[in-house]
């Protein structure tokens, strides 16, 4: 009836094989996502904050904001 016999297909361990494969893939992708986020978002953000506060003069900024008239507790120096 058939031209030649086919190989017997895998009958057992199908779920285990799939899980092993997909577990490895999932771990790798998750680690890659976390590493990517760390080096593209958190490290630049930490740098930006460090740069901002390196030469930050709070009193100077306060006086500038006061002159602009955004505070309710202190008016600009002229008034």
């Amino acid at each position: 009836m058939s031209a030649g016999t086919l190989a017997k297909p895998a009958m057992r361990g199908l779920l285990g094989k799939r899980l092993r494969f997909h577990l490895a893939v999932a771990f790798t992708l998750s680690l890659a996502a976390a590493a990517g986020f760390k080096f593209s978002v958190t490290e630049p953000r930490k740098q930006a904050y460090a740069e901002f506060y390196k030469n930050y003069d709070a009193m100077k900024e306060f006086e500038a904001m006061r002159e602009a008239g955004v505070f309710q507790s202190v008016r600009p120096k002229g008034q």
């Binding site: 009836m1 901002f52 900024e61 500038a64 904001m65 602009a68 008239g69 955004v70």
Partner: protein, 173 residues
Amino acid sequence: MTSYRMIASRALSLVGRRAISTSVCLRGHGVAKVEDYALPAYFDRRESPLPDATFVKHLSSEQLALKEKEKGSWAQMTEAEKLALYRISFNKSFAEMNMGTQEWKSVVAGVFFFIGLTGFVVMWQRTFVYGDVPPTFTEEWIAAQTQRMLDMRMNPVEGFSNKWDYENKEWKK
């Protein structure tokens, strides 16, 4: 018990005995007729390979002869005969059944069309239904608003005020 019979006979006489008895005769003395949809049906389904019925229900004379030949040795049957037997039992092969259609193109086309139509509806609404936008959207208001946001140093590290050059009083390049 007797009260039931009395009510039943009263009901029967109201409906008319002749009408009921004729329909009973047509169906053969009260035996229910089985409609086609209630019988085991043929289906092409990947998850159930063997349907409840064969595809061809009324065999022609050649097909009957073939069925007789099937009872003998299969090695003496030709490929064409075996294929004919298959096609008696099944409508589509697995390959034919699983074949994709071009339907998705129509679906995508319909989706785009109705999105476009909705665009027209929205444009009409904007012109003829909605009133004016609040004064907070005027140029002067937005300018004053932006100046105030810069004055109070909103998001000075990475955000809004970070993009403004306070020395030169212009946006950073």
